[in-house]
């Protein structure tokens, strides 16, 4: 399975009823035979979201967007972060699925975002029909047509009064798309993030970086 599909697989959290995991003896923690094989095996805190398995993360809530909403989001995410010679388009890295994960989360802020996102998708389709003919939905439009709509909603301060809410929706999707994209290996590579790798030693910044800020 790919990283994305494994990560987002919905799993039911079973209340574990494993044996007590307490250790209390003469051995260091790592050598104790009663130590749990994974944190979620611990009956004190089995599988709760306040003690999740950090090594095999799961998303414990159900997704809620339908197929058409996901298709529309994929088109919008790719308009925001298209493919180029450095990195793929956002939907290739699951950005639209991340929006679904986000708006389906059981927290107050995300539940508000869900209203904004679902409403925004309906607005996009309605606007597509208004501009380009009855029955047209956002996904039916050419990239040029999609761009024509998004140019009107991509910057909140300049958006016309009738576009203000749609502009708020667009900015939310832009933020979520960027979060989804740049937190992947491919997105990090696009930015030139070269860390998260063990080094034998640590030295001063390279000369070209020091020169860049005028320190040499």
């Amino acid at each position: 399975m790919s990283e994305i599909s494994r990560r987002t697989a919905i799993k039911v959290i079973a209340a574990a009823a494993a044996a007590p995991s307490v250790f209390g003896g003469c051995e260091p923690p790592e050598a104790d035979p009663a130590r749990p094989s994974s944190p979620s095996a611990n009956p004190l805190a089995a599988g709760t979201a306040s003690d999740p398995d950090l090594l095999e993360p799961i998303v414990p809530w159900e997704r809620s967007l339908d197929e058409h909403e996901l298709e529309t989001l994929a088109a919008l995410c790719d308009l925001i972060i298209p493919a180029d010679d450095r990195s793929p388009a956002a939907s290739t890295l699951g950005a639209h699925e991340f929006v679904d994960e986000w708006v389906s989360a059981p927290y107050e802020g995300m539940q508000k975002d869900k209203v904004l996102v679902r409403g925004g998708i309906v607005w996009l389709d309605a606007e597509s029909a208004r501009r380009f003919g009855a029955g047209k939905r956002f996904v039916d439009l050419t990239v040029a047509q999609r761009t024509e709509i998004c140019d009107d909603i991509c910057y909140q301060p300049d958006a016309k009064p009738e576009h203000k809410s749609a502009a708020r929706f667009f900015d939310k999707i832009r933020d979520l798309t960027a979060t989804a994209f740049y937190t992947t290996r491919e997105g990090m590579k696009d930015l030139g993030y070269v860390g998260n790798t063990p080094l034998a030693s640590w030295g001063p910044p390279p000369d070209e970086a020091l020169r860049h800020v005028g320190l040499i």
Binding site: R7, V22, C26, P28, L54, M188, W202
Partner: protein
Amino acid sequence: MSKAQENYDVIIVGSGAAGGMCALILAVNGVKVLMLEAGRNYDPVSETPMFQLPSEAPLRGGGTPEKPFGFYDATVDGGWRVPGEPYASAEDTNFLWWRARMLGGRTNHWGRISLRMGPYDFKPRSRDGLGFDWPMSYEDLAPYYDKTEALIGVYGSNEGLENTPNSSPGVLMPAPSPRVHELLAQKACRERLDIPVIPAHLAIMTERQDADRWPSELFPNNPLAQRVVGDSMRSRAACFWATPCGRGCSIKANFQSPTVLLPPALATGNLDIRTGAMVREVTVDTQGRATGVHYIDKRTRIDEHTSAKLVILAASACESARVLLNSTSSRFPDGLANGSGLVGKYLMDTVGAGVGGQFPALENMPPHNQDGASGMHLYMPWWLYKEQDAGRLDFARGYHVEFGGGRGMPGPGAFGGLEEYTNGAYGQRFKEEARRYYGSWLWFDGRGEMVPNEDSYCEIDPEGFDQWGIPTLKFHWKWSKHELNQARHMQHTFKDIIEAMGGKVTSTVHEDGADAIAAPGQIIHEVGGAIMGSDPKRSVLNQYCQSWEVPNLFVTDGACFVSNADKNPTLSILAIAWRASDYIVDQMTKGVFT
């Protein structure tokens, strides 16, 4: 598993900085110790998500009410709320109480910033007439700072600045080279603001410990201690300059109680640990001496009692105060060790305020690795001693500056707000703008000293009850003008630094300190609640963390703090706990606690 060992010399409540240190020092000296930890067992070696990407975690690793510092943060069943373990705040108080229900407590996720309190910090009342003096001096604790730093591994440098003590030669590990934005800040502060920017001190090993030298220096004439501490030091690797310390460290390069203190303590054979043991109260005999503790076994939900000759509370400042206040009896109706009425009183947190900036000089930076030691390599110690002495500041005490940003691993929220910088870019232009702006934001945070006051305290909530049937805490809080004015001063300092570096301020600079200051408890440096002193009527403990009223009862965590200097408390908690433990061993050797 736990041996059927009935006759413990000492019960330690809590397994974090204070509990871990006491356990190690007592165990290597042959004292039989039972440690009770309210949370679950936790093993950083096998449980730490070292290289996992945010994209592998729910919500890209972002914070939730269950995991406020993000999915990968090394906090189990904790944060601002613990399931089934509530607390209350008085009206107009929004105290935030961070707890972690796990072996090692908050030492697993902490910031590793390890600054010594200086000579002034022990005698604040003598200097400005506010608060209280400690019943010990810097010279009393200095040897324990040296020993603690050598034991846990701390990087830093000796700069000889006012009230910013040097360590003894050879104690500190080399400080890592600064990152480019840290150098930029250093230059601007030196040339334009006269603010010192020096290597930070963090409990992260930049090289392996000298396991042939330190065990014999730290524990002379103690072969058992030398063996277990030597083995522990040999098992730790130096930092490999990747992965955030807040997740914990599977190679044991940073300090966590479960990797540094508890393994050697357990290796002596003198320590047993019982997890899932939530202590309710300390019991006393007819002479008023501590006999043991009642705890709830979280697996069975049954109240258990265990006995020892001596009890050490190291459950964290507020939790230890809670245990004392809940230890009522006909002899001690107001709680144990509370003849002074000061248990729960004089709670202090750190004054926190921050300002962000965006820096054109950092845009389009040539790609290079800026992960480093994960925490900061440089910081600004408090520097305005002369201005304060001259009466030119409208607050007492000082703050230091922590700062960070740059080209770290992108996390949730990466490029949120790019709309305003780019007039709403999307498409190919968005990708190009993201490359340009990545790493060009920095954040500056003040960490300052709060003066203790009568209105900041915790008490037992008459209506509160947690899921273990234990009465809960209610918090009261008031900031004085010193804290509020200090928070305002911080904000103006950060604005000056940002502008001196050629940057633009990206957050609000508040004129009213009340709008700038972090909520009480939010900096997670809460101390006090069982202050030490030299007068039994005006303090709970003596300078060795020993209760004035119950001589075989000690409180070695942050509760004993008399003041809360701008030096983050963990290093001092460790050093004070070691000093108290030496005193306990000495007294036991003399046959005092039989």
